[in-house]
């Protein structure tokens, strides 16, 4: 990893179109400003990793197989059963 030392209001240029500026240092917090082309997405790393991980958890492989579909239908129907609309709740007359 390349390590550079910067003070408040000093910047780093990456390539010819990404600018990263240290705006403010306050205790253990650093405010960073980023200028990058619009097609580049910028995320906080821990949030991005969390989304990646949850996407992996959410994958339903082989959705085309009949068994898999049945299992999925059953799981979702069990969820639907947990919640019946108020007018259909037993005892709710």
């Amino acid at each position: 990893m390349l390590i550079l030392t910067r003070k408040s209001n000093e910047s780093i240029i990456i390539g010819n179109n990404i600018l990263i500026k240290v705006l403010k240092v306050q205790g253990n917090q650093v405010h960073i400003g980023i200028e990058a082309p619009r097609e580049l997405s910028v995320y906080r790393q821990e949030i991005y990793e969390q989304i990646r991980k949850e996407n992996e958890n959410a994958v339903q492989a082989n959705i085309s197989s009949q068994d898999k579909i049945k299992q999925l239908e059953e799981n979702l129907n069990n969820l639907k059963k947990l919640f019946s609309p108020p007018e259909e709740k037993p005892g709710d007359k």
Binding site: Y48, I51, E54, A58, Q60, L72, E73, L76, K80, P85
Partner: protein, 167 residues
């Protein structure tokens, strides 16, 4: 752009495609023959660029978002406004709006991925990073919102909450 849809009047688990609560443009393109392009894929599956939406009567209002580039890749999704309370709204960051070329909120299809668990109470949906599809150009991406919404939101709790709000 801020998007909020009120489905409180529609009965979530009997939503008919015929009397869809979606804006007209979204409903008219919600067909299995339509291919949606995800220019950047989605995080963790960057190579999956083309998706279709499979509408299966048996799992309504859930839908499958299926990759055309990878046979083993598919997600169960649901419109987040169908399963969580009134406090949820989606503010799409400017960068994402510009990448999607989204100009009309009535053209946005919003789907949250669902992590299905055998225990229905543990089935969750991702409210922090919904998939937004611009029906005007059939382009989609997973948008990470700036609000502090949960990645693993228990659908069951959301529905129970909505039920309480109703009565």
């Amino acid at each position: 752009m801020k998007i909020k849809r009120d489905f409180s009047e529609s009965n979530w688990n009997k939503t008919q495609t015929g009397d869809s609560p979606y804006p007209k443009k979204v409903a008219s393109l919600l067909k299995e023959s339509v291919i949606f392009n995800f220019p950047e894929g989605i995080p963790a599956f960057e190579d999956a660029r083309r998706f279709i939406i499979l509408l299966n009567e048996n799992i309504k209002p859930f839908v499958y978002l299926k990759s055309l580039d990878n046979d083993d890749l598919g997600f169960v999704c649901v419109d987040p406004f169908l399963v969580c309370s009134k406090d949820y709204s989606i503010k799409i960051p400017a960068k994402d709006l510009s990448l999607l070329e989204l100009k009309d909120s009535g053209s946005a299809l919003i789907l949250s991925m669902v992590t299905v668990d055998r225990d229905p109470k543990n089935t969750t949906t991702n409210l922090l990073a919904p998939i937004i599809i611009n029906m005007d150009n059939l382009t989609g991406r997973q948008v990470i919102l700036e609000e502090n919404y949960p990645v693993r939101f228990r659908i069951w709790e959301g529905l129970e909450d909505m039920g309480k709000n109703k009565s």
